[in-house]
């Protein structure tokens, strides 16, 4: 039993972790949450060092220094776009550390209880799965290897075999207490991790990372049992539980059932994106868009025929008003031929009581469009098609458009990937700046309204 002050310090650290997760769940407190977590971590590490580093104190410090020297620059220098693979890597080393800790403790302790051994086995197994799995995801995201699902011949058979082998090895360790078997188990775990992640395809990799993250949490919790350390149990469990939920939420947000991602080995769910040949579109959730809007300074609404079809004029005005109340500049870009009759948008927006001053024309909007944070394209299509400007071969070449592709971000509300009146494909849909929000415009706007209120 550690002295009371140590335990209290651990408890305080655990508390910090809970608060950290809580903070990280709301935009406003996310940063503070992260800092609280870091503070808790510092407390825990210092406590552990002061109380537990009876031997090897200097070596430990050196190892920590080395870790810092590697970790901080890596984290600092990584490009924003490469952050997911960095997280994967950090997660992997965490899993490896947990496995090593359990392994070492196993070696140190001559004889442990069954529970101790079970916990050890779990830590080593899960830790190595997490490590190798994370490394593979890293390689995928870094595009060192293909991002497409890799289907080994007889992959499933190999997978099942590895799982059975792990189980047997685990049983062996518990029964015999053999260190060799434990090392073999670690190796089996590494294989399992690789097999587990290989079939996951590009877009789903982040979900796999999240799951591996939860795994590492569980490994840490298990190591807490190994070391009889409450802090490790609490923190590991927190991460394990929240990671699991988070994984589910992420899968939901992408509209893919978890099992599909992990085991479906990509039964190409024929989504709308499929019609876009090789080009990919990014479809977002209402919440994504809500946050985009909530943190914008200026928003341009470009309504089109779809707004009329959906009779979404009132909903659009409500959303715009809400944003204005939050101090966001909102204007409507009225294209001369939006809709299906001259002045179609005027009629609708007047009905919804949008003040005339908010209606802007092409010439009012285009010069300053580069500084618009978000353009909300509500059921318009042709009137924002960059092809009319850039592709002389396009049947609509020469029609003036809103240059929304020059704005900082574009949200496209429509029901499908179908083209507009002119029947011409719209390259804006495939622009990386564009987030698609599929669905009836009125529906989407109504949901968006609710979501923005919660941001």
């Amino acid at each position: 039993m550690s002295p009371t002050w140590v335990q209290l310090a651990y408890l305080a650290a655990a508390l910090c972790f809970v608060l950290a997760l809580k903070g990280l769940s709301t935009p406003r407190y996310a940063r503070a949450g992260n800092l609280v977590g870091a503070a808790g971590m510092a407390l825990a590490v210092v406590t552990a060092y002061v109380h537990g580093a009876v031997h090897n104190g200097l070596l430990i410090l050196v190892a920590i220094a080395a870790g810092v020297a590697v970790g901080i620059p890596a984290a600092r220098s990584v490009k924003m776009t490469a952050i997911p693979q960095m997280v994967a890597l950090f997660n992997g080393v965490g899993g490896a550390a947990a496995a090593l800790v359990a392994l070492t403790e196993f070696l140190e302790v001559a004889e442990g209880s069954v529970l101790f051994q079970v916990a050890t086995v779990l830590t080593v197994l899960i830790g190595s799965v997490s490590f190798s799995g994370s490394v593979v995801t890293f390689l995928k995201l870094q595009e060192v290897m293909t991002t497409r699902p890799v289907l080994l011949p007889a992959g499933q058979v190999v997978g099942v075999a590895a799982a059975v082998a792990s189980a047997l090895l685990a049983l062996g360790v518990v029964l015999t207490g053999s260190g060799t078997l434990l090392v073999l188990l670690a190796v089996a775990g590494l294989a399992l991790g690789v097999l587990f992640v290989l079939p996951v395809g590009g877009a789903d990799v982040p979900i796999a990372i999240s799951l591996l993250n939860a795994f590492t949490g569980l490994a840490v919790a298990a190591s807490g049992y190994v070391l009889a350390n409450t802090l490790l149990i609490v923190a590991g469990t927190l991460v394990g539980a929240s990671g699991t939920i988070l994984t589910r939420l992420m899968a939901q947000a992408m509209g893919r059932p978890l099992t599909n991602i992990l085991f479906g080995a990509f039964k190409t769910t024929a989504t709308a994106a499929a019609t876009g040949e090789q080009r990919t579109v990014r479809s977002g959730t209402v919440e994504d868009v809500a946050i985009l809007l909530g943190y914008a300074h200026s928003v341009l609404v470009v309504p089109g025929y779809g707004l009329a079809v959906a009779q979404a004029q009132h909903a659009a005005r409500e959303l715009a008003q809400l944003l204005e109340q939050r101090g966001i500049d909102v204007a409507y870009g009225i294209h001369p031929v939006a809709g299906r009759m001259p002045g179609h948008m005027n009629v609708l927006l007047a009905e919804a009581d949008v003040p005339y001053e908010h209606l802007k024309e092409l010439d009012d909007v285009n010069p300053g469009i580069g500084s618009v944070d978000v353009v909300l394209v509500v059921g318009a299509n042709d009137v924002v098609n960059p092809g009319a400007r850039d592709e002389p071969s396009s049947p609509i070449y020469g029609m003036p458009i809103f240059d929304v592709d020059r704005a900082k971000a574009v949200v496209f509300m429509k029901r499908s990937m179908r083209p507009g009146f002119a029947g011409v494909d719209n390259t804006l849909l495939y622009n990386p700046k564009t987030t698609l929000l599929f669905g009836d415009a009125k529906d989407s706007l109504t949901k968006l309204l609710a979501a923005v209120k919660q941001v």
Binding site: I334, H335, P336, V337, A338, P342, G343, M345, N346, V347, A350, D353, Y356, L359, E361
Partner: protein
């Protein structure tokens, strides 16, 4: 018991296309135990045929029913000649406009007729269902916008089109009573940008309650209260404000009447000259003197390139619904004085007393 007979004449005064009874109100009156005589052709402008009246239970009579019925209801008052046929104790209800018709009033008084004028109806809550001034002002306000719109060589709404953007028309309403408010609402519906002005304190909120802009004279500064409504400074500031806003407007509609008096001139010829060519001004007060100096009742006058429309009996331009509302007003008032098939106005009743002009040979109101 002989039943009381209500007479509905065909209106004979010029420019009058309404009628004081329609088949539906005939039904109501018969339900109240009365008999109804309708002069042949009374409903022709209101598209109510003699057959329809008959179907509702009325007797269609060939001549003006004055003298052959106990109650005469009409829109315009009877002529002195028609009134001369009325017998002692007969009742007549119409827009009597007593100040304009002293001769007629004298005939009615002398004959001992009990005459009610809807002009005089007290505007209390209970009398609202008989308030023909309101109902006809509703029609007038709506029609003023329709007539102005038709004459304006421009759109009222804004349009952004491939051939450029057309800005919304600017409409100014002077006087925000019932007619003015309705004009505001109608112009706003058509997509115009509307502003309005009135001297009544409550008007500001009322105008805004229709989503229009209220023009304010910046006179509050003097001790926190408005300047005396008739003070010279007030009038001068009002003139300035109106001149400025008239010049900026495509349509001006004036409705500022002062009950029983000549309407104030709010828009002078100089103001009109500053307007964009093609602008339209409708003066609903033209008949009572005119808010617009240049207006002639019943005539379209060009002042430079500005068209001034002097309204004359605006409600008659929409006879079906104007008649419907008026007939119901008159019927409601008549039903108010009827019990068990007998028409017996209780002149202690605030409402009836208020609008009773002559009774038993007495003139109950000062004329001016």
């Amino acid at each position: 018991m002989i039943t009381v007979r209500v007479g509905v004449p065909a209106e004979s005064r010029p420019a009058e296309r309404r009628v004081a009874g329609l088949p539906e109100t005939v039904t109501t009156l018969i339900g109240a135990g009365l008999t109804v005589d309708v002069q042949a052709g009374a409903g022709r402008h209101a598209h109510a045929s003699d057959a329809a009246y008959r179907a509702a239970g009325a007797n269609v009579v060939p001549d003006h029913p004055a003298g052959r019925c106990e109650v005469l209801v009409s829109v315009q008052p009877p002529t002195p000649e028609q009134a001369a046929c009325l017998r002692e104790g007969d009742i007549t209800i119409s827009f009597l406009q007593p100040n304009a018709e002293p001769e007629l009033v004298e005939v009615l008084r002398a004959n001992g007729v009990t005459s009610f004028s809807l002009d005089l109806l007290p505007r209390v809550t209970r009398a609202q269902s008989a308030d023909a001034l309101s109902s006809q002002a509703l029609v007038a306000g709506y029609r003023a916008v329709v007539e102005a719109t038709r004459r304006l060589p421009k759109f009222l709404p804004m349009f952004t089109t491939a051939a450029g953007t057309v800005p919304p028309a600017k409409v100014l309403i002077l006087g925000a009573g019932v007619a003015g408010l309705q004009a505001i609402a109608t112009a706003r519906r058509l997509g115009a940008v509307v502003e309005a002005y009135d001297v009544r304190a409550a008007a500001k909120e009322e105008v805004r309650s229709l989503g229009a802009k209220f023009l304010e004279l910046d006179l509050e500064t003097q001790g926190g209260v408005y300047a005396q409504a008739q003070s010279e400074e007030f009038l001068e500031r009002q003139r300035q404000l109106i001149a400025e806003r008239v010049a900026a407007s495509d349509i001006v509609i004036t409705t500022a009447a002062v009950p029983g008096r000549t309407a104030p001139v709010l828009v002078t010829n100089d103001m009109l000259k500053a307007m964009t060519p093609g602008s339209v001004v409708v003066d609903l007060a033209a008949e009572s003197g005119g808010n617009v100096a240049a207006s002639q009742p019943g005539e379209d006058t060009w002042l430079g390139e500005v068209l001034v429309v002097g309204a004359r009996n605006m409600p008659s331009t929409m006879p079906v619904h104007a008649s419907r509302l008026y007939a119901r007003n008159v019927t409601n008032l008549l039903v108010m004085m009827t019990a068990d098939g007998r028409v017996a106005p209780d002149l202690d009743d605030e409402v009836l007393a208020g609008c009773c002009l002559t009774h038993r040979g007495e003139l109950r109101r000062e004329l001016s």
